[in-house]
């Protein structure tokens, strides 16, 4: 009891300089995905640069499972002291709550900054009877339930991204859920499914070798890595844009001064030429959105996906 009282008495003394000289100890970054994946490598590469910028060491903690919800839920126990951060892609925050009961919502976080983004793509074999995005959607619309497309799991962001487009054009295609983009790619290359649906980087080498023809990306504009794939704006579907993007979040109630310090560090490191080059090999581009604008971005994506999930009958 005495120790506890002493601790409480000393607390302000410990807390005050922490704000002044943030960061003064190691920062723990929770990544709600397995080591080696896209979110993990992005976070680790950035952490190497952030360590120099913030002059503090960064410890990455991978907590995978439940499409990211396991790691995010565990992160909810962290204190908003700036020493616990979440490096996540958008799906656990905006997609998973549509289809699972989650212990967190958008208001559980202090948004720090988005870091990079990429689109999902849909690719077919070279002999598929379509040469561009418009023809691709027409072919799908003319043949309901004829084509199978692989995705990263039922209720995953890739499936919702595809269905948002399909719903606008009255397209019916058979969704085949796989464990991840690697498995989808394997089944696409083996000819077991007609359409690859997933992130850009795994399929990129096969576009170069001519084994895959990517006709559409789920971003409004085209993507540099896949110039032949149509962006949604050219198909009058700009409102159906769904991106795969990554961000840093803190628990709700983070001190503004610490948030500002982190925003400044992230803005600098994300645009570091070394990081931009690293992103390019994965088909990603840097895109920093911070503070209120980030909140708004999360909210509008959350609402758009909620509608798609409801139309699919997947809503929780």
């Amino acid at each position: 009891m005495k120790k506890l009282l002493l601790g409480i008495a000393l607390l302000p003394l410990v807390a005050a300089p922490a704000l002044a000289e943030y960061p003064e100890r190691a920062i723990e970054v929770t990544v709600p995905a397995p080591a080696g994946g896209g979110t993990d490598t992005s976070a680790r590469k950035l952490a190497i640069l952030l360590e120099k910028e913030l002059a503090a060491s960064m410890a990455i903690l991978n907590v995978a499972g439940g499409g990211g919800s396991v790691g995010v839920t565990q992160f909810m126990q962290a204190q908003p002291d700036g020493y616990s951060l979440l490096a996540t892609w958008n799906s656990p925050i905006t997609t998973v709550p549509q289809v699972q009961k989650t212990a967190y919502g958008l208001d559980s976080f202090t948004p720090i900054a988005s870091t990079s983004e990429t689109a999902y793509t849909m690719c077919v074999k070279p002999d598929f009877p379509a040469e561009d995005g418009a023809q691709f959607l027409d072919e799908l619309a003319a043949n309901p339930n004829k084509y199978t497309y692989g995705n990263d799991g039922i209720g995953g962001t890739m499936q919702l991204a595809a269905e948002r487009i399909f719903q606008q054009r009255d397209i019916k295609a058979v969704a085949i859920p796989f464990g991840g983009a690697g498995e989808t790619l394997q089944n696409f290359l083996g000819g077991h499914i007609d359409i690859y649906g997933g992130s850009i980087s795994p399929v990129l080498p096969y576009v170069e070798s001519g084994e895959a023809k990517c006709l559409i990306v789920t971003s409004a504009s085209t993507v540099d890595a896949l110039p032949q794939a149509a962006g949604l704006e050219s198909l009058d579907l700009a409102a159906q844009e769904t991106l795969l993007w990554r961000m840093f979040l803190a628990p709700a109630g983070l001190d503004q001064a610490i948030a500002d310090r982190l925003v400044a560090a992230l803005e600098k490191t994300v645009n570091d030429p070394e990081y931009v080059e690293f992103l390019a090999t994965k088909g990603e581009i840097p895109h920093v959105v911070t503070g209120e604008a980030l909140s708004a971005r999360l909210q509008s994506e959350f609402d758009g996906l909620a509608e798609a999930a409801k139309n699919l009958g997947l809503s929780q």
Binding site: P34, A35, G36, G37, D40, T41, R44, K45, I48, I60, L61, N62, V63, A64, G65, G66, G67, S69, V70, T73, Q74, V99, Q100, K101, T102, A103, N145, T148, G153, I154, G155, V174, A175, I176, P177, F178, G179, G182, E183, L185, Q186, N187, L189, G190, G191, H192, I193, S201, P202, L204, P205, Y206, E208, S209, E277, F278, T281, K282, L314
Partner: protein, 505 residues
């Protein structure tokens, strides 16, 4: 040729060589300590190497991976505690050998078998890797379904004396495998609104509890305060005569091929490779009854099979950019950090690095011979001299630490203890545990893939048997079920004929 010499000269530099030797030794320890496993060790250590020379980092992966697969055999043989899940099949004959006073011999055979399996696998990776990788693309959901069924059919050999108990254990494993978020419908199954159950029960946590805890408890039951005396250890005179080595050769060839095949097709892993190899060795034997009672061929099959899985499991990752297991995913992640793009061009664009890694997988397999043969076997066999009162708490603490580190969750410790208690009582009731593992690993694989196959065929079941590869595996599955029954009948008739002949004479 020029590439080969430049690859060799960069691998045989001081840095990679030291990394290979050090990590192989570390790997043997990681494998030998129950709870610690190569996936976890590589996930924790690989990120620390991001700033190093990539060949040093990859040497570390190769050493830990190959070393730990052999290391797992050490406690499996000495204490019936599998150090890694892949060493479960090693306990079947390894421990009975140790009880017969042949511990050192069993360890030696395990060491040779691991090294040979790993070497065969690395050679496959180096020579026919890209070709094999292309061939695996022909395997779709229908084929993976049959592979899982084929694996489960080997339960028949593992059920032991009481078929009903064995099948009950298999069904229990299948049941455990259904826990978690269903990938195909997105529905949570048996999760009771617990977020940590969404990703299912962690295989390693369950296996550590189920397999490592019961032997620890029975060790505690014996309450021996002394351990073996030095003179009982019989470490001298462990030379395995050439006549015996000769009998192991067919087992090594068979198990290497099985391990490589299982490794290159993602989803099953080293433990299934070991089970299938063990099963094949038993089926091929003239005297299947001697398995489970200390037959050296059982140890050879299991250890050769699980090491042959290693390098082969890297084939889809290095040749196609598609990781087949967690370690392959970690390696690809590390390559990305170093600015290399995984995919079919990887080898052509970076022969130095990819070729170097392949050579490192080969060399670390050979290092096991030295590390295991000369040093580890002699040192680790001394464990038998430790009295139970020291051994039991030590192993328990190591297990708890290892399991906690996997996900950093206290709940995993409870799962481990519950699984262990289940395993303890099931063993008391003579229910075999091996079918539980196969059910747990292969059940979800079979279920997801048959549902995917039916989605693709729009519900037409004939697709499952009309595709050439799936039809072949289906027939092989039938043969696997019929073979032991047929050969048992054949033997019975033969022996009764012999008996009649005797009488006539």
């Amino acid at each position: 040729m020029e590439t080969i010499t430049s690859i060799l000269s960069s691998v045989l530099a001081t840095g990679p060589i030291l990394a290979m030797i050090g990590s192989s030794i570390l790997g043997v320890f990681i494998g030998a300590l129950p709870g610690l496993n190569p996936v976890m060790a590589i996930a924790l250590l690989l990120p620390l190497t991001y700033s190093m020379d990539p060949l040093v980092a990859l040497a570390m992966v190769a050493g830990i991976y190959n070393g730990s697969m052999y290391g797992g055999a050490i406690p499996a043989i000495l204490l019936r505690i599998p150090g890694t899940p892949a060493a479960i099949a090693t306990t079947f004959d390894g421990y009975p050998m140790a009880q017969k006073g042949q511990a050192a011999r069993a360890l030696k055979i395990a060491c040779w078998s691991s090294a040979l399996g790993g070497t065969a696998s690395a050679l496959a990776l180096i020579t026919v890797g890209p070709l094999l990788a292309r061939a695996t693309l022909a395997f779709g959901p229908a084929e993976y379904f049959w592979i899982a069924v084929f694996g489960m059919a080997s339960v028949g050999v593992l059920v032991g004396n009481d078929a009903v108990k064995g099948l009950m254990a298999a069904v229990f494993g299948l049941l455990l495998g259904t826990v978690g978020l269903d990938q195909l419908s997105g529905a949570p199954r048996y999760t009771f609104d617990q977020t940590w159950l969404l990703s299912g029960l962690d295989l390693i946590v369950i296996l550590v509890g189920l397999y490592a805890l019961p032997p620890v408890l029975s060790l505690a039951e014996r309450a021996d305060l002394d351990g073996l005396s030095a003179s009982d250890l019989k470490l001298d005179n462990v030379r395995v005569p050439w006549s015996e080595v000769k009998t192991l050769i067919p087992t090594w060839i068979r198990s290497s091929l099985i391990g490589i095949s299982v490794g290159i097709l993602p989803g099953a892993g080293g433990n299934v490779a070991a089970f299938l190899s063990y099963n094949a060795a038993k089926n091929a034997s003239d005297d299947p009854k001697s398995f489970g009672k200390g037959n050296p061929r059982g140890v050879a099959a299991a250890e050769c099979g699980n090491n042959a899985d290693n390098a082969a499991s890297m084939i889809p990752a290095l040749a196609l950019g598609i990781p087949g297991n967690v370690i392959a995913a970690l390696v690809l992640g590390a390559l990305l950090i170093h600015g290399l793009q995984p995919g079919p061009q990887l080898f052509h664009q970076n022969p130095q690095l990819v070729g170097g890694f392949m050579v490192e997988m080969l060399l670390t397999s050979l290092i096991i011979l030295i590390v295991g043969g000369a040093a580890a076997t002699r040192v680790f066999a001394q464990v038998q001299r430790l009295p139970g009162v020291l051994l039991v708490p030590t192993v328990l603490v190591l297990m708890a630490v290892g399991v906690y580190v996997i996900n950093g969750r206290v709940i995993d410790l409870w799962i481990m203890f519950v699984a262990g208690a289940c395993g303890y009582f099931l063993e008391k009731m003579e229910v075999p545990l091996a079918p539980i593992v196969l059910g747990l690993i292969l059940g979800p694989m079979a279920e997801q893939n048959i549902r995917r196959a039916l989605l693709i065929s729009r519900g037409d079941f004939s697709d499952l048997v009309t595709r050439p590869i799936s039809a072949t595996i289906a027939i092989a599955t039938l043969a696997l079920i019929i073979w032991p029954i047929g050969s048992a009948l054949f033997r019975r008739r033969k022996t009764s004929n012999d008996a009649q002949n005797e009488e006539v004479r």
